[in-house]
């Protein structure tokens, strides 16, 4: 079970990462870019969390009668990282709102047309 885990979590991470990256690069819609960015970041969080998995360990929430926990440090870090990425996404979407007010569109190509 676990050594299988050791293998496939990376694949999930990579697939997610590529999906997000592709969305950021290829989609003209600014909102979708932000979503892609978020997926991209999330994949990294999954990478961290899956790295923290310890064989037979459970979620690092202290409880009586549980001895084996996953490594808590990555969880703590990722909580922070998630906050950061949420802030980024919120800011990004806020920018998109302002852009739409200014340009009347959220489509990159239309914006370029308007700019030059």
């Amino acid at each position: 079970m676990t050594e299988l885990l050791g293998h496939y979590n990376y694949w999930i991470v990579i697939i997610l990462m590529m999906t997000g990256f592709y969305t950021v690069i290829a989609r003209p819609n600014l909102v979708k870019k932000i979503i892609g960015l978020f997926i991209f970041q999330t994949s990294v969080f999954i990478l961290f969390i899956s790295m923290a998995k310890i064989e037979g360990g459970t979620a690092p929430i202290l409880e009586e009668g549980i001895s084996v926990y996953s490594n808590p440090l990555p969880h703590v870090l990722i909580l922070t990282a998630i906050v950061v990425s949420l802030a980024t996404t919120a800011l990004g979407l806020a920018l998109v709102v302002r852009i739409r007010e200014a340009y009347g569109t959220t489509n990159e190509d239309d914006i370029h047309v308007q700019d030059d």
């Binding site: 989609r27 003209p28 819609n29 600014l30 909102v31 979708k32 459970t58 979620a59 929430i61 409880e63 739409r100 009347g104 569109t105 959220t106 489509n107």
Partner: protein, 90 residues
């Protein structure tokens, strides 16, 4: 036992996904997403019992609200878009 239940729920989720992908209308997708949300909540709850960590219920609880809010949010967004000009992404 819990495993059986969670597997059944997973199958249900899969079926929901099919509808979500097929559409055809946006509303079908949102509907499917909403249902999948409900299913996920239950899944999490069951998993909590399965792994002997019922604290997971908190997550499930939060998830109920999130999926509800997200449904409403999506509807709001598309309602506003269909009403206002300058349609964004295709």
């Amino acid at each position: 036992m819990f495993i059986t239940v969670s597997i059944v729920i997973l199958v249900a989720i899969a079926v929901g996904l099919v509808r979500a992908f097929r559409g055809p209308t946006l509303y079908d997708r949102v509907l499917a997403a909403n249902m999948i949300g409900t299913l996920t909540v239950l899944m999490v709850a069951v998993l909590g019992f399965m792994t002997g960590r019922p604290e997971f219920l908190d997550i499930a609880l939060v998830y109920v609200l999130i999926s509800f809010v997200s449904t409403i949010a999506v509807l709001r967004v598309y309602a506003s878009r269909s009403s206002t000009p300058g349609n964004g992404g295709k």
